[in-house]
Symmetry: C3
Subunit: 479 residues, 3 copies
Amino acid sequence: MNLEHSKFSLTIICVQLALLILFILFSCYKSDADASDVKHSTIPAYGGATPKQNSISHYDSLFQDVHVMIFIGFGFLMTFLRKYGYSAVGYNMLIASIAIQWSIICRGIFHHDKNGLIPVDITSLINGDFAAAAVLITFGAVLGVTSPFQLVSICLIEVFLYALNEYIGIELLKAIDVGGSMFIHTFGAYFGLALSLVLRKNSESESKNEGASYTSDIFAMVGTVFLWMFWPSFNGAMAEGDDQHRAVINTVLSLSASCICTFAISAIVSAENKFNMVHIQNATLAGGVAVGAVADLMLRPYGALIIGSLAGLLSTVGYTYVTPFLQSKLNLHDTCGVNNLHGMPGIMSGLAGAVMAVIASETDYGIGLYKQYPAMAPEMNSSHLQELRKDLTSIEPGDGRTAGQQALFQLLALGVTLCIAIIGGAVTGLIMRLPLFGQVPDAHLFDDSKLWEVPEEEENVETHKGETNQSFEMKSGKE
Amino acid sequence: MNLEHSKFSLTIICVQLALLILFILFSCYKSDADASDVKHSTIPAYGGATPKQNSISHYDSLFQDVHVMIFIGFGFLMTFLRKYGYSAVGYNMLIASIAIQWSIICRGIFHHDKNGLIPVDITSLINGDFAAAAVLITFGAVLGVTSPFQLVSICLIEVFLYALNEYIGIELLKAIDVGGSMFIHTFGAYFGLALSLVLRKNSESESKNEGASYTSDIFAMVGTVFLWMFWPSFNGAMAEGDDQHRAVINTVLSLSASCICTFAISAIVSAENKFNMVHIQNATLAGGVAVGAVADLMLRPYGALIIGSLAGLLSTVGYTYVTPFLQSKLNLHDTCGVNNLHGMPGIMSGLAGAVMAVIASETDYGIGLYKQYPAMAPEMNSSHLQELRKDLTSIEPGDGRTAGQQALFQLLALGVTLCIAIIGGAVTGLIMRLPLFGQVPDAHLFDDSKLWEVPEEEENVETHKGETNQSFEMKSGKE
Amino acid sequence: MNLEHSKFSLTIICVQLALLILFILFSCYKSDADASDVKHSTIPAYGGATPKQNSISHYDSLFQDVHVMIFIGFGFLMTFLRKYGYSAVGYNMLIASIAIQWSIICRGIFHHDKNGLIPVDITSLINGDFAAAAVLITFGAVLGVTSPFQLVSICLIEVFLYALNEYIGIELLKAIDVGGSMFIHTFGAYFGLALSLVLRKNSESESKNEGASYTSDIFAMVGTVFLWMFWPSFNGAMAEGDDQHRAVINTVLSLSASCICTFAISAIVSAENKFNMVHIQNATLAGGVAVGAVADLMLRPYGALIIGSLAGLLSTVGYTYVTPFLQSKLNLHDTCGVNNLHGMPGIMSGLAGAVMAVIASETDYGIGLYKQYPAMAPEMNSSHLQELRKDLTSIEPGDGRTAGQQALFQLLALGVTLCIAIIGGAVTGLIMRLPLFGQVPDAHLFDDSKLWEVPEEEENVETHKGETNQSFEMKSGKE
């Protein structure tokens, strides 16, 4: 154990040092966070922006909302295991911290300035949170069966592949996905499932420790509800104006529908027709995933309700039938059921994105169509572009794609995401099986007490009135 | 049980389908969430608003704050019952989801465009949260003694009456109530009390399950504190400029005073002069309710302190003396004591609204008086209006009410609210007594385990070091 | 006990009454919260600001974020004691409420208008939260060993000294400290340590009740994570434009580094090389403290990482070695280890502030240097000032300090803060030893049940399936 932990400590110190060196070499403040760039300062005489116009005032509360989803939302959602709460919320914080820093570097490979420097601003932090989300979804698939050393290693590999996939999908394929349903949720889920399949092959993942307590289930609801509430900010963070406005409306409506359908279906499919907390903790959120890729589009309020309802249905059915099926047939262990919350609803969202692209037209979007789908803008020098620019000079030349072509590219982005996620996850699983990384022994699965100092139950203390039965003492180095 | 639950599932599926059809028929995006409306798009060439000027950027963080109050605040406040936490936070989420959708339709009956369509925007969602708040207050009165089927049915009736009462109060009577102390808190509380009185008439509401545990009390404080913190956004969400500024200041000061007074009074009135968590969880919030109807007015900081202090006093005394009195005299069971937190402080706020109207003058508000109290603006074609319009062309003609008349209309709105709430709640209680709706058997009161799969206590697992006594296993379909 | 509590109740009623009278005499709304000041109303015809330009729209979400840190963050962080959760979150709310009101008066002594009135606006509330933070840090040092009567008294003394020290540091010494690392964290921590040293001199602070449970540790993580997430808003709340932008970036990066280093060091220094929840709950936050005084400066991303890493290291080592050392050598009891989280990292931040001042130049800040460090602006009538004003008319004359002089003033402010905090804390400790204030008997340390009604463990209830072992009943006045 000591050896394992020293390896872990040494590794993450090296990781932080390496990240520090990369930041020294390659990072700088973006212009409107840079005091020496007077154009973006608060000094009007220099043509500086007023405080209101600095991008921080637009993004600050959106960033904070997304931040809450990553650290409270994901962190507490995973505390549902009765003996793994310290690890859930603690490793969540550790992994997300590494992911934020490392994603700035990885995304910088694809988005840097002409001096090779990576300009850091508030959107870097939001995108860092997005990358962290993908890794935390993967964490959900292998919760309780991986060591912190493995988790950090997985994080480093996954964030790079995340940035690569995002670059291919958005920059090369010019697919759109405002809420990251493909690039974050689908990617994180199938990376995690492939990883779990390979990593835990031939392993016994069943454990008497894997289960919830009444208290841990309510802690998990803290995570659920914060994810549920701030999802509109997640889906709308990178949109502007009326696009952002629609993203918020559609996400709220979709989530409310998935919540309602989850309750309906949970009572039907569960044992004794009782509600199941696993469904309520997870499937209520599926509407947020499923609407992600289309949240800013002209989905209309009823479109959002349809997507949310189907997502709640799909996800609840997934928890009841698909997860046990995969477990028994493939020995695929998926601790949090990320396939049901992020995987299948993410694919559903990618497909919805293709459908919405097929029906996208100037009737629905006006000239804004070419901002929403930049690749559908006419090509450079085309007469159509000249004409459009009479109305809107800022329009950028695109690829002149038809709606059908855009739909195919949306599907292509979904396919590429699935490929990179599954292959990447599987290869990462193989790497994690190397002796270097160690394996969590079966007796240590889902159990904080092996790697954390946990309070010991008081046994011989005289009980007096008013004392609760939650009485523990700190166990300190006695074992 | 199965039969009950199938009925529930079938019902809420039908409810969601019906809502979907209503949304298909009657909803549309409001102009600044509609991409086809270029005037509200991000395209300046069309005269479009810049992203900053889209109403989403004004309302987004206010909406998120209110959203937190509804789902975390109300949800966790009600987890104080030690065996009813799943139901509290779960049903809270379900009911609020239905209320948000249904309130958009119900309010649309009174506020639709000339084509009969209901334009949906971010304020629709905030108003949806407000409607949900009223229903959740009612839920608090009957927490633990109603089935989910009953709760959904109550929600459907109450949201309609809520929208009707709000229309009468604001549009017809032209009363003002920025924080909804009358239209949300008073309405929700007395609807719930009348409902509880009729529904539980002749029933035994006493149960050994009704009580808190040390852990459940701390979970409840999560709800309390989030309600307490975000109440300034609740009271200020629908105000603008200096009105919103005052709403925030007054609400913070009022809440701080009610917190201080609650601690003082709790120690005096409680058994053995100890603090009582029920008071701290609830009466500390009374200042937010009591200041609601006057939060945006020229209350001055000391006015806010006076209201908050009195509200804390009133509410704590209510929990200690009024609730037991009503329970013993009328057999009126009020699980969360909503009369003390929302009822009496809501009435107090309504009365304060009348007092503030009486003393409202141009001295305090300048010409803004006629924006604050639109009915006090001079009538169409009056010479006073002509004169005012020299200074402010945008002023709308009103009813030329005097301050005293406005005060009477404020009182009238309070009276109408009480009537609709009490009659509506009582009739709803009668309906809920129909055999169709079933009744929660006494043995099932305040107990999650009857309708939820709950983890079962591990009994025969060998205890080893570091294991806590919170060890459960999932009970699955064995009963 | 009764006597004690009556004294408490009477005292805080008097405190609230006194505050009310002070507010009546001395408070008013600041102009942009005052309806009668048409220039700041929403009425453009009077030259009124539009709603967007009212300062509430800039500060509202920042205020709410800081508010969450004070009430959820500090409140729940201190619930880690297994038998002191009611007190932790309850007294936190009480003390902070008093601090907000009282700080408006105390700061008003130094910042009032020409009529002697204190203009209240949204920044008064943010500054109120800051003052509350200092008191709550002090509360952390003596958590579990002070009565509520003592806590309220300490709060009243400390807030006055806080306002005095802030006035000396910012107005007289013209030191800068955007995140309050000196004026809030260092001040609160050393005030608390000196208080604890004097108050608990010769007392036994060891108690079998002082310890965490598995559940209480997870509640504490709610506090930790909310503090961690919203710290960027804390450090950036009072900055504008690109300064605020940097404050957010630097704080996020510093916190992520301190989180990573805390995990690394915790595993090395802890017993059996296990992670220690005390470290994760606290030292992960040290990066937020340590970057506070320099968060808005041109620290660059790597600078933030260095500070955060060192802070995580320093704080974890502090918990492992420094706290036990001070306990054994000085009998200095520091319940929450505020020396490690707020004290040493606060001093570190003050020193970093001096270093950053030494290297500050127009190269890094452009002409904005004289806004960032107002005392470095040229003196009135100097030719340098004339020249600068050609570019920026709004520049205020300063003291013409060199970078080195500014650094000395930064150190001076740190020194003054330490002096006022330590002397003030020690004197307060002496006062708290007066018989008037009573002392918490050893048997009552760290134990809610002495001053709160706590649920009693159910002992003779027949256990049935589905019942958890967290079964309590309300103990009501039976003892």
